[in-house]
């Protein structure tokens, strides 16, 4: 394994032209992920977590204006001709989305859908690709894979469909797996199965994983590094142990505290007031300012705090050290 990141993103911005005017979905983010590592992007709806990854892999909607640098296996993606980028993505990146039916074609057998990328990108014969589909279905824990390879997506349950999508995503042994809320639509016992499955496959194949989620519990279980997004920016980023042990941005701390936890009974949850900001009305300063429980003065309302290191590799976008609320966690 080399030390070059599998995916590296620098100063990525995404703005969307809409009828209501420009919406700033992503406002400059930097991060990278290495082989065998899991990078978790966590945030609420509209925080820009999904858009970051879609834009980086060239899947942003037509109306999006994307700037910044994105390197996949050391090659610059943003300036690459669209067709080459598509090939590169198909060969090296696998995707698992929240709703498996968005990735599956209802009129093709699952076997055909897994075999197709193997023929397209690995130059396999139709027969070899079909054998590989059976092997992959078996790998992701579909019982009687040899028979089920002929089944259609509607013949599988939600959890089994997500396994099929994972098999499809892994078909070309990608260097990078993008898992965008892969367990959100599933029950907790099924979620536990899928989390284990992805971890086991990653351990075996050395895939780099970008895991997008709003669930801090899932992050704690899967991530090596976590980045918390709010209003299109990363507000805190670092090794998962450090961020959870010492959440240093008021938003991260408030988010962790607002979550009821089994066995910790409290009368009132320390809720964050208000709602997440609209991408149409982002302030020049910190987007969390209007909801922030610890804002010390008006400075961060008008001036954007820099992302500064508070501990090795642990970055926080805040002016105030007193904002740190690490106690008791």
């Amino acid at each position: 394994m080399s030390d070059t990141p599998v995916l590296s993103i620098q100063d990525l911005t995404v703005s969307l032209g809409t009828r209501r005017g420009p919406a700033r979905a992503v406002a400059g983010v930097d991060w990278s992920v290495r082989a065998g590592e899991t990078f978790a992007l966590v945030g609420e709806s509209g925080s820009g977590k999904s858009m970051t990854v879609l834009a980086a892999t060239g899947l942003a909607p037509e109306a999006a204006r994307v700037t910044g640098r994105v390197e996949l296996l050391g090659e610059e993606l943003t300036t690459m001709p669209a067709q080459r980028r598509r090939r590169m993505r198909g060969r090296h990146v696998g995707f698992v989305f929240q709703d498996p039916m968005t990735s599956l074609n209802p009129v093709l057998t699952v076997g055909r859908q897994i075999a197709e990328p193997c023929e397209e990108h690995l130059g396999m014969s139709r027969r070899a690709a079909r054998d590989r589909a059976v092997e992959l279905l078996d790998l992701v824990g579909i019982p009687s894979a040899a028979q089920r390879v002929e089944a259609y997506p509607h013949q599988f349950s939600g959890g089994m469909r997500q396994r099929v999508v994972i098999a499809m995503a892994l078909a070309c042994e990608p260097d990078l797996l993008i898992a965008d809320e892969p367990t959100t639509a599933l029950d907790v016992t099924t979620q536990a199965q899928i989390v284990e499955l992805i971890a086991a496959l990653q351990q075996r194949l050395g895939t780099a994983v970008v895991w997008i989620t709003h669930d801090l519990g899932v992050v704690a279980g899967v991530a090596d590094t976590v980045a918390v997004m709010y209003g299109g920016r990363i507000v805190e980023q670092g090794p998962v142990e450090a961020v959870f042990a010492d959440p240093s941005h008021p938003y991260t701390a408030a988010l962790l505290a607002a979550r009821p936890e089994p066995g910790r009974v409290v009368a009132q949850l320390p809720a964050i007031q208000g709602s997440p900001p609209s991408p149409f009305e982002l302030p020049p300063g910190c987007a969390f300012w209007s909801r922030c429980p610890v804002r010390a003065d008006a400075r961060c309302e008008h001036e954007l705090p820099p992302l500064a290191e508070v501990a090795p590799a642990h970055l926080v976008r805040s002016f105030y050290q007193q904002a740190r609320q690490g106690e008791g966690r």
């Binding site: 082989a35 065998g36 609420e44 709806s45 078996d138 790998l139 992701v140 824990g141 019982p143 009687s144 349950s157 959890g159 089994m160 029950d187 907790v188 016992t189 099924t190 979620q191 536990a192 199965q193 989390v195 284990e196 499955l197 971890a199 086991a200 496959l201 990653q202 351990q203 075996r204 194949l205 050395g206 709003h214 669930d215 519990g217 899932v218 992050v219 704690a220 279980g221 991530a223 998962v240 959870f244 042990a245 408030a254 962790l256 607002a258 979550r259 009821p260 936890e261 089994p262 066995g263 009974v265 409290v266 009132q268 949850l269 809720a271 964050i272 007031q273 709602s275 997440p276 909801r291």
Partner: protein, 377 residues
């Protein structure tokens, strides 16, 4: 249905006994079956008995297909019971005519998961909140209703100037507050909350849970809180009932359910909740259930959980277990309640093997910790 009755006598209380006057709603051996192709039935609810006491929150938790939402709908007679009895505020409402149902739906109100879908997009917030007042003939004249609407909006923490807005102009959290205001309008005896926070942003979920608890303390409300999120259910509830495949498999207080679950399914469900602590997550060993919830058209014989139960024994296929008391006020429907959980947990206590970093493994198939699904073979 001829269910064998093993240990417990048929009259054993399904939930902890309570003075009769205190019970707001009661289900007695409720069954809700829906017709399915081939003259079969989807047994969504298949013999559920529970009591809801005035002023309490009963949490109903389960995965999709467990029948928890159908149970909630049955309390308002929004689905027709196939068998069993429903009592609300001391009256049996099982056979009530369509006309009398209006009275039932004043006594039992409902808050739905998606406030966007449950509010009429063309009506103003004030009109939506006034609707139940008009339907039930409450609030007096126009001016009286307007005052009552303002009062209700204030109760749920919405600014008065939102009254003339439309649902699309509100945030998700604000819309759910409107849904709660509507539910409060008829001063119901019971509010059924069906996944009231599931579609809200994380930072907004805590606001709504605090609001619901605050209203309960202020107005003495009774809730049936239906959710799949066990942490939220524990936080909200005085008592919890765990459902699996149309049945209640365990009931007890949050402390009992979380501290000492009696049913293997409860233990597995608890084990599956991710904890927001990487150190705990790294050390813990999950009970991973294999397979998925079986079809409610043809539930397994005997114990319905046995096909996925890590502790299933031969007689579990023969006896359909009743809820038996495993501790004061805690009931579990398992032939080997407590003992099975103790064995599952003993295996969990063994330290998890350290997670090795990526090393290629040449074995084929699902050996590398991949959970196989035996249930669908």
């Amino acid at each position: 249905m001829n269910r064998p009755e093993p240990q417990a006598p048929p009259t054993a209380p399904p939930t902890a006994p309570a003075p009769a006057g205190d019970i707001v709603a009661e289900l007695d051996e409720l069954k809700v079956w829906f017709p399915a192709p081939g003259r079969t039935s989807v047994r969504a609810v298949d013999g559920v008995s529970l009591q809801i006491r005035r002023g309490e929150t009963l949490g109903l938790v389960g995965e999709s297909g467990s029948g928890k939402s159908t149970t909630g709908l049955a309390l308002l007679r929004l689905v027709e019971p196939t068998a069993g009895r429903i009592h609300v505020a001391g009256e049996e409402v099982t056979g009530w005519s369509r006309r009398r149902l209006r009275r039932l739906r004043r006594r039992v109100a409902m808050v739905f998961q998606d406030p966007q879908a449950s509010l009429d997009p063309r009506r103003t917030i004030a009109d939506s909140v006034a609707e139940p007042l008009i339907v039930h003939g409450l609030g007096g004249d126009r001016a009286g209703r307007r005052r009552r609407v303002a009062e209700l909006l204030e109760l749920v923490g919405l600014r008065g100037d939102l009254a003339d807005r439309h649902p699309h102009e509100l945030s998700g959290g604000q819309r759910q507050r409107v849904g709660i205001a509507r539910a409060l309008a008829g001063e119901p005896d019971l509010i059924v909350l069906d996944e009231p926070i599931a579609s809200l942003d994380l930072s907004v979920q805590a606001q709504i849970m605090n609001l619901l608890r605050g209203l309960q303390a202020e107005l003495g409300l009774t809730y049936l809180f239906i959710a799949h999120d066990l942490a939220a259910v524990e936080h909200m509830s005085d008592r919890i009932a765990v459902m699996y495949l149309g049945r209640i498999v365990e009931t007890g207080t949050p402390a009992q359910i979380y501290g000492n679950p009696g049913h293997p399914y409860t233990a597995a469900l608890l084990s599956a909740i991710p904890v927001a602590d990487p150190l705990v997550e790294r050390r813990r060993r999950r009970i991973i259930l294999t397979g998925e919830i079986p079809s409610p058209v043809d539930p397994p014989s005997g114990c319905r959980f046995r096909t996925r139960c890590p502790q299933a024994r031969p007689d579990c296929a023969e006896t359909d277990p009743d809820l038996i008391e495993v501790e004061t006020g805690q009931y579990a429907a398992c032939l080997y309640a407590v003992e099975a959980v103790r064995q599952m947990r003993a295996r969990q206590e063994e330290p998890a093997p350290p997670k090795p970093r990526f090393e290629p493994d040449t074995t084929t198939g699902g050996e590398a910790g991949l959970s196989r699904s035996a249930g669908l073979d």
